[in-house]
């Protein structure tokens, strides 16, 4: 009997070898490991062999059955793997076909740059302060130490707003603000109102739209944005101005950004400076963007003029401060190699979608 079982065992293994699909494999399992399989029924035929051989035969039958079971499982796994491999092969995609387009929103480049600028100052303790775009002559000029007929008015060509009851040849009292600087007065007065005797220190940034009476060209616009900044306190110095703006430049343009300061003139600051940043496009070697100077003019600044401090409600004997202003469009143009400022308000999607 044992010999017959051995033969059946060999035959079953051979059949298993030839099986390539799960249906045949199932049939094989029923034929060779099912209840009616010869090997399974061999236990029932134990009576046919001598009792002294029975333990040895029984052990051998168990061995053969376990071996067949193992062979079956190995085969089943191999078949599963083969089928999976085939399926994966069939599901293969052309990964070079384009992906499904996703609608994607963006902030306007000016907004993006303003956020970059403002974000850095916020991390230095500056708060955002907003003020109006249509201003009085008083706020836009006079309180900033630019009295009527001051030559500095030539520096800012102004849009005047018609005001009922004001003659054509009188200087109209309302203007579109030519700079964000009137916000300095608004901010100082806002803060000073907290405690007029001992006004609190101020650190604000004032982003906003400003207007100039100019022809619209590749280099000049009738409206553009500015980010103004103002720090007022009891111990604020010109060296703080330098340190703060240098630090801003490093965070804005990279840790290696070098800066330089040149004297300048603004009626509402004294001393006044202009800050240049070493050209980040050519590393200072000179290129067309920096007009071969190696430097880019990025902002004007200065110590707040005593008259302006006083107009804001801060005693210039006790308080000092610095202010600065810069143009986000100009900075955006420098950073991205934009040649024409008119792109900003034209809002051509082919321009906007690149940001």
């Amino acid at each position: 009997m044992l010999a017959e079982l051995e033969r059946l065992y060999q035959q079953a293994l051979a059949e298993l070898e030839a099986i390539t699909d799960s249906v045949a494999l199932d049939a094989w399992r029923i034929a060779h490991l099912g209840r009616k399989a010869p090997l399974m029924q061999a236990f029932g035929r134990m009576r046919e062999i001598p009792p002294e051989e029975r333990p040895q035969v029984g052990r051998r039958i168990n061995e053969l059955r376990d071996a067949l079971q193992a062979a079956y499982e190995a085969r089943a796994e191999a078949l599963r793997q083969a089928e999976l491999a085939r399926a994966l092969q069939e599901e293969r995609l052309d990964v070079t076909l384009p992906g499904r387009p996703r609608p994607y929103g963006r902030l306007h480049p000016t907004t993006q740059t303003i956020r970059d600028i403002v974000g850095i100052f916020q991390s230095m303790g500056f708060q955002v302060f907003q003020s109006r775009e249509v201003e009085t002559d008083e706020y836009n000029f006079q309180l900033l130490n630019i009295p009527p007929h001051h030559p500095a008015r030539d520096m800012q060509d102004t849009f005047y707003v018609a005001t009922p009851g004001v003659d054509e040849d009188e200087t109209p009292p309302v203007v579109l603000r030519t700079h964000t600087s009137p916000g300095q007065i608004h901010a100082m007065r806002h803060y000073a109102a907290q405690d007029p005797e001992n006004p609190p220190p101020i650190r604000v940034v004032l982003p906003g739209m400003v207007f100039r009476y100019e022809q619209i060209t590749a280099r000049s616009e009738i409206q553009f944005t500015q980010v103004e900044g103002l720090a007022v306190g009891r111990h604020i110095t010109f060296s703080d101005l330098k340190g703060t703006l240098t630090e801003w430049a490093r965070r804005m343009f990279g840790p290696g950004a070098r800066t330089r300061f040149r004297p300048s003139y603004f009626p509402f600051t004294e001393p006044s400076v202009e800050m240049d940043v070493e050209c980040f496009l050519c590393g200072g070697k000179g290129c067309s963007v920096c007009k071969h100077t190696g430097w880019l003019e990025v902002l004007g600044a200065g110590m707040v003029h005593p008259v302006v401090l006083r107009n804001g409600g801060y005693d210039p004997e006790r308080y000092s401060g610095f202010a600065f202003g810069m143009g986000p469009e100009r900075i955006t143009m420098l950073r991205h190699g934009i040649q024409d400022i008119r792109h900003f308000w034209r809002n051509d999607v082919r321009f906007l979608e690149q940001f």
Partner: protein, 845 residues
């Protein structure tokens, strides 16, 4: 201002290259914008410079001072001559057509010879017939006579545009010397800021350079050879308004012969941007450019004639109503009443500080000159100059402020130059009226005041020395106080706390901005004042970007017609209802916008040519005039626009459908959720001048109307260049939206137990708004109703005409247990009852 280097070097020794000097000037606040090289070597083309460069370097070997020894006729051409030229080495024959040599033709040997600028073969010159180009002198034949060199005009050398004749140098020009060594120059074009008015004379610029270099300043000699009879009794001056005219002085020079100034003077005037006229006028301009004090020359004999043969009296006064004057440019001008005039007993002579009159100006026949030096009120000059649209060198300087102390030295200097250049005799003495002497501020301060402003630790002595270099008279007292007397050429130094700030600037400038340390702000941090507006606006914009919208920023300036184009009526409102500009740059940008939609439509219209799908928004102010007060309201608005396919084209599947009303509504609903608005937005049928009457919703938050949402009215759409796809627009009150943003929000607990979900379809009349059905479901469902989602709207015969079926997926959920079927049935029953009662809805089997 244009400053020739040679001129600047009259007053200060400058051991610097042209480029280093330019940088020094810029570092002093005298920004050099450009340098024009007029003979001196130019920097290499790839040099890193902070200013523009132009001009021509004169090759010292090829361009030299030479002398014309004889002028001969050209054998074959009447319009050419041959010049016998000696260049210090040899004689050359030069063919030239210079008209100013013709007078010497055939006169034989010239003694003294004429001094000229001579260019040898191979010299590079500017090409007079090709602006910006150069040419190299080559050997060739001109009308049969060999030519290889030339005598130059100013144009070929880049001095001026003068090309009519050749340069005739002054007689003392040294023959054979390279021209670049003799008169090679560089002209600095300096942008003078209003606080730098003292540098509107070259002497003023020299003073700054001297201060920076620590070098002595050579002030021009003001000694005058006065050999004529005294001026006393021959001219009188009367000032009627010292505020308008703080100082007025005159001098007299007689027996002048008008003629050209020395060549060197003419060359300098040209380099400085002025046209030489004659030796008298040139002297006034030369001294103005030197000192910054404008001067005016009158023909004295005309003044005497106007005074009826008497000694003239000059009277300065305000203009009388309707007074007129013909200025020396030949224009008759009506003078505004605030103008100040220089007059005599016969009437106006000149517009003070702006322009002289035609009648009394010097002319070729003038023999006696009364020379005026005066100072005028800057504001008056500015107003007059603006009103008459007359911008002159004098007005430019007076507007910025001329120190009255300059009157006397400038007058004397000009008298002496006139004497030398015109051969006249100067009358003894001057008439000088100075009723309102300038008080030059004295500032007292301590080093601590400077440290407080600059963060720079300087001793009193260091500060004193810096200021002394700028000619402040400084005393350091024992207690450490510094006392600084402002020098009598500056009007920009104030007093008290302003004066100290002014001095701090001078100290910083001379010390060097780059040497001042850079420090971090150490001052106390300001209190937080809750300026939340900007942060909330950022949140709104961010949410819209996440929703796939592109931000645009458009012009605040527009025109009523542009806004009307976006309305069905198309009727522009009058300009008077807008914030209107007095001086618009263009007719279609003359008022401030009152809505964002028209701009957004214009943007979309332009872009429609390039892209099918657009999703745009703008956040920004509109400008609404107010009944009272000068200033308009500037409320923020939010406008949105969608048009085109819901998705961009893709290679698999059908093309996406065009976006419709519900796309934009979905954006607003999601925006409201993203912003955690305390309650959902409500939408009611609405009306809007730009929108389709049947596809417009009023958007409400609580009881507050936020704005409108809708499809663009077909008639409005037809006015724009749009494709067939619907254009969906919305405009909302940005301030209300912003202010509705909660500072914080509380989370609902995340459910622990599963919901029971079932679908309920109700048949209602067509007229019943979906929102009413949903409200009824919510009211009926009570606390356990978790979610209601409309998933189908069906119309068909089997539910009857005039009816619609709305299918909702509803979820019931309890916080503390799993709801049973019985619970669900109870809730459903309440919902069905409520829907039946409130909107007449019937549950569909």
């Amino acid at each position: 201002m244009k400053v020739p280097l040679s001129w600047l070097k009259d007053y200060v020794d400058i051991p610097l290259s042209v480029e280093d000097l330019a940088n020094l000037l810029t570092s002093l606040g005298l920004e050099v914008e450009a340098v024009r090289y007029v003979g001196l070597p130019m920097p290499p083309a790839d040099a890193r410079l902070d200013f523009k460069t132009s001009g021509l370097a004169w090759d010292p070997d090829k361009i030299v001072v030479a002398e014309v020894r004889e002028v001969l006729p050209h054998p074959n051409a009447d319009r050419l001559v041959l010049a016998r030229v000696y260049d210090g080495q040899a004689e050359h024959q030069v063919v030239t057509g210079a008209p100013n040599l013709f007078a010497y033709k055939g006169q034989g040997s010239l003694d003294p010879p004429l001094k000229v600028a001579y260019a040898r073969e191979g010299a590079v010159l500017l090409d007079p017939y090709n602006p910006g180009g150069t040419l190299r002198l080559k050997r060739r034949k001109i009308r049969g006579v060999e030519s290889y060199s030339m005598v130059c005009s100013e144009k070929e050398l880049g001095i001026s545009d003068e090309h009519e004749g050749i340069i005739l140098l002054d007689a003392d020009a040294p023959t054979g010397v390279p021209l670049a060594d003799y008169m090679g120059d560089a002209v600095f074009d300096i942008a003078i800021t209003p606080n730098m008015a003292r540098a509107l004379g070259i002497l003023g610029v020299a003073r700054e350079v001297a201060a920076a270099l620590g070098a002595p300043l050579r002030v021009p000699d003001t000694a005058v050879v006065m050999e004529g009879p005294p001026i006393e009794g021959r001219a009188e001056v009367r000032i009627t308004d010292p505020d308008a005219n703080p100082r007025f002085a005159v001098g007299l020079i007689e027996d002048v012969t008008l003629g050209p100034s020395p060549y060197e003077v003419q060359r300098r005037l040209k380099l400085a941007g002025m046209r030489p006229i004659n030796n008298i006028v040139d002297a006034t301009n030369y001294v103005m450019l030197e000192w910054g004090e404008p001067l005016h020359a009158f023909d004295y004999d005309i003044l005497v004639e106007r005074a009826g043969g008497q000694a003239p009296t000059i009277i300065t006064r305000r203009a009388r109503p309707g007074e007129r004057l013909t200025t020396l440019d030949g224009e008759e001008r009506v003078l505004p009443p605030y103008a100040v005039l220089v007059t005599d007993t016969a009437g106006p002579l000149s517009i003070a500080g702006v322009m002289g009159g035609a009648e009394s100006e010097v002319r070729p026949t003038t023999r006696r000159v009364l020379l005026e030096a005066a100072v005028w009120d800057p504001i008056t000059i500015r107003r007059v100059s603006k009103a008459l649209k007359l911008t002159t060198e004098a007005a430019y300087r007076y507007q910025r402020g001329v120190h009255p102390a300059l009157v006397e030295p400038a007058l004397l200097r000009a008298l002496e130059l006139m004497r030398r250049w015109s051969g006249g005799t100067v009358a003894q003495g001057i008439v000088d009226r100075y009723p309102k002497p300038q008080r030059d501020p004295v500032n007292r301060f301590r080093p601590a005041d400077i440290r407080r402003l600059l963060g720079l630790d300087l001793t009193a002595t260091e500060i004193a020395n810096l200021l002394r270099r700028l000619e402040f008279r400084v005393t350091v007292h024992d207690d450490g106080t510094i006392e600084a007397q402002t020098p009598p050429h500056r009007l920009d130094i104030g007093e008290g706390v302003v004066g100290i700030a002014d001095l701090a600037e001078e100290i910083a400038r001379l010390y060097g901005y780059d040497r001042i340390p850079a420090t971090r702000l150490a001052d106390e941090l300001p209190p937080y004042l809750g300026l939340e507006r900007a942060r909330r606006e950022d949140r709104i914009k961010d949410a819209l970007v996440v929703l796939g919208l592109q931000e645009v920023i458009t012009y605040r300036l527009t025109a009523p017609e542009r806004e009307a184009r976006a309305t069905v009526a198309g009727e522009p409102r009058p300009d008077s209802e807008y914030v209107r500009l007095v001086n618009p740059i263009a007719h279609d940008r003359r008022v401030l916008r009152q809505t964002l939609l028209p701009n957004l439509l214009e943007v979309a219209e332009r872009n429609a040519r390039f892209v099918a799908r657009q999703a745009l928004f703008e956040w920004g102010p509109v400008f609404l005039p107010r009944e009272e007060g000068l200033l308009p309201d500037e409320p923020q608005r939010l406008a949105l626009l969608l048009t085109g396919p819901r998705e961009d084209d893709f290679w698999a599947g059908a093309a996406a459908e065009a976006m419709d009303f519900y796309d934009l509504k979905g954006v607003l609903e999601t925006l409201a959720r993203a912003l955690h608005l305390p309650q959902p937005l409500r939408f009611e049928p609405g009306e809007h001048p730009s929108m389709h009457p049947g596809k417009t919703a009023r958007v409400l938050l609580g009881d507050k109307v936020l704005g409108h949402l809708g499809e663009l009215h077909p008639q409005v759409k037809a006015r724009y260049d749009f494709g067939p796809a619907a254009v969906l627009v919305a405009e909302l009150d940005g301030c209300a939206l912003r202010d509705a943003l909660p500072d914080r929000f509380t989370l609902r607990p995340v459910p622990q137990f599963p919901p029971v979900i079932e679908d309920l379809a109700f048949v209602v009349d067509e007229t019943v708004p979906a929102a009413a059905v949903e409200d009824a479901i919510r009211a009926g469902g009570g606390a356990y109703l978790r979610a209601v989602t409309l998933f189908d709207v069906y119309r068909g015969q089997n539910i009857g005409a005039g009816k619609k079926s709305l299918a909702y997926r509803v979820a019931y959920q309890a916080p503390d247990r799993t709801l049973s079927d019985k619970d669900a049935a109870r809730i459903r029953k309440k919902i069905v009852k409520r829907v039946a009662r409130e909107v007449g809805g019937v549950l569909r089997g």
